[in-house]
Symmetry: C2
Subunit: 380 residues, 2 copies
Amino acid sequence: MDLSGCAVVGIGRTAYTRRSGRTGLALAAEAVRAALDDCGLTAADVDGITCFSTGDSASPLRVAHAIGIDDIGWAVGIHAGGNAVATVIANAAAAVITGQAETVVVYRVLDASVRYGKVTAEVSVGGVEQFAGPHGYLVPPQWFAMWARRHQHVYGSTCEDLGAIAINGRNHAANNPHAIARDPISLDDYLAGRMVVEPFRVFDCAYEVDGAVALVLTTAERAADLRHPAVHPIGAADSTGAGGMPDLWDDQTAMYSRDAAPRLWARTGLSPADIDVACMYDCFTYTIMATFEDYGFCGKGEVGDYFREGRATYGGDVVVNPHGGLLSEGYLHGLNHHYEAVLQLRGQAGARQVPDAELALVTAGAGPYGGAIVYSSRRP
Amino acid sequence: MDLSGCAVVGIGRTAYTRRSGRTGLALAAEAVRAALDDCGLTAADVDGITCFSTGDSASPLRVAHAIGIDDIGWAVGIHAGGNAVATVIANAAAAVITGQAETVVVYRVLDASVRYGKVTAEVSVGGVEQFAGPHGYLVPPQWFAMWARRHQHVYGSTCEDLGAIAINGRNHAANNPHAIARDPISLDDYLAGRMVVEPFRVFDCAYEVDGAVALVLTTAERAADLRHPAVHPIGAADSTGAGGMPDLWDDQTAMYSRDAAPRLWARTGLSPADIDVACMYDCFTYTIMATFEDYGFCGKGEVGDYFREGRATYGGDVVVNPHGGLLSEGYLHGLNHHYEAVLQLRGQAGARQVPDAELALVTAGAGPYGGAIVYSSRRP
């Protein structure tokens, strides 16, 4: 696999706020324009656009039209959640490499019309929820909490271990003016946090916001003439995990990463020791715990110690979520992790810059389906 | 652009019936298994799966699981209708070419839970329909009928011209045992057809059915060892048409094909005269009319004569929809057009075989967004 014929050349975003009062379309258009401004391209240069999980109100066609494009040669909306954020980018890279488009915008927008922690009538009657619903098992915090409990039972992980992950990210966010939550917390603060669904306290759950993020991808050749250093996706992998729905798996502590991780390392020839920055999908602290183990940074049940010993921050082995992640920067469905990876690999992350960052791992989603991308500051 | 590093090696389908009484998942799994049987591969060989416009009940993950796959490395559900059927295949080809997957299944299933000609409460309140709904302008037959009327006004096309398209397809379907409607019709039959929405009679509208279709794509290298001759996608193009919603376009007779067609011919170096078989998306007869003109087979307003003169059938210039298309074989959202193209280029179409078929054009969707693929029986 070689995706490095493609490069991320532009990044853009809106402010992340609790209630913007703005439409998804307006937010998406703002982020896309910002990403184009960032690299010095214009809407006229864009011939591809893609997003995931965005309904009709901010579909690729609507967003293209909103920024002034009347005809676009490649427009793909992928039906999935944060589990697909790596897929969407790898897919866009493949379109660029095979000549289906030269310059592709990838975006994701969230507004107050969707809050994943909220139970709605719609959630309670569709799909597998029709069976889980009568038991009150309806939304992601509940699912992940159940899996986290299982992890505690099988591997002896603790609430304090989850807390170590939350604290690490919140401390990083203190250096990120864009983050919605920037006040560092102690273990006492963490443990005093409001219980949402056991074992998850409020600090274990992603901070849902309004906002949008966009990336601009183009060919490595064209990237050479643009404003910022090119950042190359060099490998990607996905997995549907253990098949079917996680609650039916033989091992409920398994996530997609169990299968995606070995695939990614095999395709790239890299190992966790090579990674400078890890932007780990963190809809919940537990998501980092499970995927961090699967990607091989440490063994099962060892994540708490790893984070407490300072190995997941500056001066340690790998800096995990220097921006604060979904837990502290804001829940932009993981596309903000790609924004951060690009910023770090360009050396433009300011007070939170990871020194000499050359390789970044960005993981996606969680549960039954997801993947990851490795970015490099150099074309291999 | 070169997509020929990929090949379609397997095709499968269920029966097409009005009411199967079966779930979408069961239909999809049957078609996928048939496509794998066709090329001699098994579920264990599949590491990619994709579809479009399929809800949770037959999502790529569910279908993968249903055929016995516990882990799949590339699973993409594209959020779109028949306008994306070429995109989905080009996308799968790009995944194969860039090494994201080696063997990808593409499928589409429709069951009685969705009928596009039916007005539902859901249709009447979402998106642009909230403005069109109060005027009773709600479902595709109404939209396309309006555009067809405009075409009649601007270019002088007639109901008899639409009839010529319907008759051509129905006559072809007489040689297709898989088609839902196989009785040839005369112009008198056509004109006596029940009016659905002016100027569309019942013969102008796709025949909605239950059923599923699947294709298996893999690398050109692996294709060489499989059971049937490989069929190569050699070029693809898409367009979002004139921007925004068609009813807001400056030219309401324009479709995506206005912009996709020149892009396709430029990328492939081909012209309409090179094409042996044209599987044209035909949700309505008018869809063929508008796209056939745009792809350059004839000038504006000339389609009726072209079809009446026998130029769109055996012995003519190009055989259009030898299987009968969506109008007569059944509405499988255009993936059945790809099935037919592969069958023709393999030389396995039996009584309806187009002699010496080497190049097939397959168009997708209509309205504001769509595209096309050219397949070749030889790798260029």
